[in-house]
Amino acid sequence: MKAVHYSVIQGKSFGYILLLGIFGAITAFGFGAALYMEHNGHIVTGMNNQIVWGLPHVFAVFLIVAASGALNVASMASVFGRALYKPLARLSGLLAIALLAGGLAVLLLDLGRPDRLIIAMTYYNFKSIFALNIILYSGFFLLVGIYLWMMFERRMNPFTKVAGFFAFIWRLILTTGTGSIFGFLVARQAYDAAIMAPLFIIMSFAFGLAIFLLVLISSYAWTHREIGDAVVERLRKLLGIFVASVLYFVLVYHLTNLYVTEHHGIERFILLDGGIYTEIFWMGQILIGGLIPLLLCLTPLGRSRPMVLLAAVLVILGGLAQVYVIIIGGQAFPLELFPGKGVSSSFFDGQITFYQPSIPEMFLGFSGIGITLLITTFAIKVLPFLPNSLANKDVDPHFTDQSKGDSGPSAEAATA
């Protein structure tokens, strides 16, 4: 591989300013919504005493999970020594930080008392998985920051591998922690499962890579830099493997629940008669976010660049659907106090809870994406995150594009 040259983007074009404006507006709307919710209370949301975490949590968890996954590309370069991914490592680190910042902003602004955030940052209950996650998030910022520093600063380059290793281990622990927020919730039928932690890890691989692919291809197209199939093809196939793994873990989760009679209620609810949740599960999570991207990633159907982009977008949409089903669907199913007994009460017992996200919730949720992209767009202007070229000849001169029948250098030579 040739030496990699990085550069900042000029960022003076109308398109760039427009992008900044759009992401800034999305972010501003989110902050406005948070202010509105803070002023009026969460009563203006669709949440209630059964569904206590709504759409903002869906976005927040999705982004936090994707953050650790976005770092995977860098880990493959630094930890597993795959040279092809080394030029991508900086962008991978940047996206990891930006996604986490976006997710955390939404999570924190959705607190009942965001003004008391200082308490959450300074006072911990170490038995609480939620508190442990706060430590994990802070540590992730720190470690990925150091990792990026090692990559940027030439005299620190020898430590890149060590920093990358620690960041990789930390990201595994972080996603284990995020999954365990649900895995440790013994009270709810949909959660209370050890598989939540590995499921979230594999979800992070897929979501993070999908977002990475989307940002990478878009930024290279918009800045007229070259990106060859050597990179895109590998990432596409990798995405396919991750999507297949997510489907496998989801299958195991539901099979386990289906075997245990105690969980038949929640399984019937999610898989068969849960209304909107069943539809989102089958249509959103399995079909749009699983089977179609699988087809696009692992067959020649998805070879073209637009198809790769489509696969990434579908994985992201399916990921949001999956997190929606886990978080909202899991809470909508009534808490079973007396399995096998029909219950009605003076306070909503035994009811499938109705939840309709309100507009402020949507704004707040989307602002997480806005913050992520705003940070990313701004960062690539001020620091050289993007390699000048990811053309095949620069990253992998021996890459063979089987679909076109050419064979790297020899094809070039023939052309020449």
Binding site: V4, Y6, W53, A89, G112, R113, Y123, K341, S344, Q351
Partner: protein, 362 residues
């Protein structure tokens, strides 16, 4: 959007930026003027922020508004559990001033601590409960719960349990219903997972035929999952066994609500609707004092009453004497005698949360 590919700002950087994969030298050129102006900007902004904060502090601390004063002071208030007696007294005095002003009546905020040798427990006779829900209403009144169409809070729920039935035509319905091996029969039909359950059951007469009632509130677990998950220890178990919430310390993450196996906690989605005339002025810091929006609340065994030697409101109001309350450490207490002589069970005992709320039958 174009960036003309590379040598972007300074061609000289081009060489400096080359290097090992994943690395480069710094691609920025230091500029003294820029640095100096940046330092100046940071300094100015810092000064402006500090001035604004001091101004706000001065305005709030000198305000005559009891609420503004209290809210400002509460910013610097610690976790109630860790406060000294002096700090607690100050916090309580602040709140008394604020609530008295807000509700136009003399409001007291008690801070009576747990007594040694006391562990509160509750026993409920489900055979006697007639589902009249007087306990629910008494609890709402005693504990200053929000009552409006928009935000209705009830700490006690009375479940109406309908009976299922066995039917001959389902005798051969097994699981998995015609496919593969039969695993158990399915002749029993539960009254159904209630998809469209009643919010209120409003029969003309209670108890209804073919129904029995199961009141549920906070179980005051000895090993409470809600306490374990709270990231900031805003909720904790007091020495007399009551699980309480420091409303001022709660950040409103709602994790405790999700973690409670009994679904006993409620969130203040908006500002609680508590009319002045209905406000119970005898309050406890950890109990029935008015809550703010964005925090969680739940049953405290009427901490403001029981620490003064009174019964909880629900015990007092129960027309059939189904509810009993007392000190679990006192062998002569009513609740201990029930545990010794009656057939007792606890809800979701498999969760190992060790509730101090017992159900019994004669």
């Amino acid at each position: 959007m174009t960036d003309k590919k590379i040598p972007v700002k300074q061609p000289a950087n081009q060489q400096a930026c080359s290097g090992n994969p994943g690395s480069s030298q710094a691609c920025h050129a230091p500029d003294d003027n820029i640095s100096a102006s940046r330092r100046g900007f940071v300094k100015n902004m810092g000064g402006l922020t500090a001035t604004s904060l001091m101004g706000t502090a001065a305005l709030l601390t000198n305000s005559d508004d009891a609420q503004a004063n209290t809210e400002w002071a509460e910013w610097f208030q610690g976790n109630y559990r860790l406060m000294t007696d002096g700090e607690k007294a100050k916090a309580v005095a602040r709140l008394e001033r604020r609530y008295s002003s807000e509700y136009s009546k003399k409001v007291t905020v008690d801070s009576a601590p747990a007594k040694d040798g006391v562990l509160f427990g509750y026993a409920l006779n489900i055979q006697k409960c007639i589902g009249c829900r007087r306990c629910v209403k008494a609890c709402v009144k005693e504990n200053n719960q929000s009552q409006s169409d928009k935000q209705e809070t009830e700490w006690i729920r009375v479940l109406k349990m309908e009976k299922g039935e066995f039917t001959v035509d389902k005798m051969n319905d097994g699981y998995p219903g015609g496919y593969g091996v039969q695993v158990g029969g399915n002749a029993y039909s539960a009254s159904g997972v209630v998809l469209e359950g009643e919010h209120y059951y409003e029969p003309k007469k209670v108890p209804e035929e073919d129904a029995f009632y199961m009141p549920i509130a906070c179980m005051q677990c000895e090993k409470p999952p809600c306490v374990k998950v709270c990231p900031v220890r805003a909720t904790y178990r007091e020495p007399d066994g009551i699980v309480v919430i420091d409303y001022n310390w709660c950040i409103g993450c709602r994790m405790c609500i999700a973690a409670c196996p009994y679904w006993a906690r409620r969130f203040n989605w908006g500002k609680p609707a508590l009319p002045k005339k209905d406000m119970n002025p005898k309050t406890h810091y950890l109990g029935n004092r008015p809550r703010m929006k964005g925090v969680t609340e739940k049953c405290t065994f009427c901490i403001q009453r029981v620490r003064k030697g009174r019964y909880p409101a629900c015990v007092e109001v129960c027309p059939v004497g189904a509810r009993k309350f007392g000190n679990l450490l006192d062998p002569e207490s009513e609740v201990r005698r029930i545990l010794a002589k009656k057939r007792v069970f606890r809800l979701k005992v498999e969760a190992n949360t060790y509730p101090k709320f017992f159900y019994y039958i004669d």
